[in-house]
């Protein structure tokens, strides 16, 4: 079924980006943000009107590399704490940042991705994150309306893709990627491994190929550095042995 072969190369991807696009990116603190596609975006020289993803990454990791170039007009994210440059740009008025609670943000992306028109929640009610969101009264309770998010292009990182675009993720590098993959007109996947159709167990596929437009092979990821940086104090978040 070569008809369904979506594997391409980075130069082809570069030509898909355009000035003024809304870009969704997968990943959580840089883990699971496709490094090859971010480099490709940087090389394209394109300006992005709106970036949407979990966070601002680190200055040299994930979407952070792109944000530092000041080619993004706005960002919707749950935090920018790991990228001080993003904070500076925001303070200087060079980057418009809308904060969304983390789980609400991924649900907004999902809402767009599954063709619904937003949802109601109490999360953030009465706080600064209410912004000017509509308040909807249902019965005698009031909720905030959270709008769906969609994009022109989504950048996704996967462990494995078959040539149709069926995707399998790896451990916690899955995070927001499955919904980011559903929410744009053009979804581009960087995969650590590309296999022929039929090689993935249909039961283990997390994102069906129907959502994917283009696939490129990954040149490897770079987010292990996060905990190897000497200036970051080590942190054990788990029960010690």
């Amino acid at each position: 079924m070569s008809l369904f072969n979506k594997v391409t190369d980075y130069p082809t991807i570069k030509s898909l980006f355009f000035d003024g696009m809304t870009l969704l990116f997968g990943g959580f603190g840089g883990v699971g943000t496709p490094p090859g596609l971010i480099d490709c975006l940087i090389e394209s020289g394109v300006k992005v009107v709106k970036l949407i993803g979990n966070d601002a990454g680190f200055p040299w990791i994930g979407i952070g590399k792109f944000i530092c170039l000041e080619r993004a007009q706005s960002l919707i994210a749950s935090h920018i704490g790991s990228n001080p440059v993003a904070g500076e740009l925001m303070t200087q008025g060079k980057l418009n940042v809308e904060f969304s609670p983390q789980g609400i943000l991924v649900e907004r992306i999902r809402s767009g991705g599954v063709g619904l028109n937003g949802f109601l929640t109490e999360i953030g009610r009465g706080t600064k994150l209410e912004y000017d969101k509509p308040i909807i009264k249902i019965g005698d309770k009031e909720y905030m309306y959270e709008s769906p998010l969609t994009g022109d292009v989504s950048l996704v990182f996967a462990k494995k893709a078959d040539t149709f675009g069926n995707l399998v993720f790896d451990k916690t590098a899955r995070n927001t990627n499955p919904y980011v993959a559903m929410a744009s007109k053009i979804t581009i996947v960087e995969a650590e491994e590309i296999v022929p159709m039929g090689e993935l167990n249909p039961e283990e596929i997390i994102v069906p190929g129907i959502y994917v437009k283009h696939i490129v092979p990954s040149k490897g990821y770079n987010w292990k550095w996060i905990w190897e940086m000497p200036d970051k104090s080590s942190r054990s978040a788990q029960p010690a042995k």
């Binding site: 959580f28 603190g29 840089g30 883990v31 699971g32 979990n54 966070d55 994210a77 749950s78 935090h79 920018i80 704490g81 790991s82 904070g87 925001m90 303070t91 940042v97 904060f99 609670p101 983390q102 789980g103 609400i104 991924v106 649900e107 999902r110 109490e122 999360i123 953030g124 009465g126 706080t127 600064k128 994150l129 462990k159 993720f169 790896d170 451990k171 916690t172 590098a173 899955r174 995070n175 927001t176 990627n177 499955p178 919904y179 997390i206 990821y221 987010w223 292990k224 996060i226 905990w227 080590s234 942190r235 054990s236 978040a237 788990q238 029960p239 010690a240 042995k241």
Partner: protein
């Protein structure tokens, strides 16, 4: 007492709130130190909002870049653990599947309002998952040093910092005291080396004294 000692004392006291069989979510900062003080007999599932249930200890070698906690640090997975996407991770959190959520705080009000996401003009990290953790957890414990470095109290009548979630904190643990909050702020324990007067002098909020008030073990 220096800041580092205070953090360890708070984490140790917080560890005693974690009971066998619980589902636990730990925030960044002081909460991340809590596992170091858990008794070996305690079996719990640690959940993280990036998409893992059943986190195990930091790997001693060969850390896997694709296996980390919500702060991005390497972890392992225990038998019975699972991976999922972050929408489901927050589904669990909002739905009340987390028995205890232990978060760091910047301020807590006497009504249990939590402020922990922004210091306007200074630190703008963004709210991350804190609003939902505070909203959904069956039990929310806030950990913080009792005062700012300049001595200003953090347990306040009303938060001056932007609030993360209103009326959510059930317990406050500092290096000086343990408070519970239901209808009112109640002093439950005085930590070793402090007196009731110390606490009165360093707490802005009004508090009542629990009939069961005890000095710390």
């Amino acid at each position: 007492m220096d800041m580092g000692d205070a953090r360890q004392i708070i984490a140790k006291r917080a560890a005693s709130e974690v009971k066998n069989g619980m589902i636990v979510n730990l925030g960044i900062g002081i909460p991340s130190l809590v596992p170091d003080y858990l008794d070996a007999s305690i079996q719990v599932f640690f959940q993280a909002e990036n998409g893992i249930l059943g986190m195990g200890p930091t790997p001693l070698e060969n850390a896997d870049g694709n296996l980390s906690n919500a702060a991005g640090y390497p972890v392992t997975i225990l038998p019975g653990g699972s991976y999922f996407d972050s929408a489901i991770a927050f589904g669990m959190i909002r739905r009340g599947c987390i028995d205890v959520s232990i978060l760091g705080a910047l301020q807590v009000s006497e009504q249990g309002d939590l402020a922990n996401w922004i210091v306007p003009g200074k630190r703008v990290p963004g709210v991350g998952g804190a609003m939902e953790l505070a909203y959904g957890a069956k039990n929310l414990i806030a950990l913080m040093t009792h005062c700012e470095k300049d001595g200003r109290p953090k347990i306040v009548t009303s938060c001056t910092l932007p609030v993360t979630t209103y009326r959510c904190v059930k317990k406050i643990i500092t290096e000086m005291a343990v408070f519970s909050i239901s209808d009112q702020l109640l002093l439950e324990e005085i930590m070793p080396g402090y007196s009731l007067n110390d606490i009165r002098n360093h707490t802005e909020a009004d508090f009542k004294i629990s009939p069961d008030l005890k000095p710390n073990r």
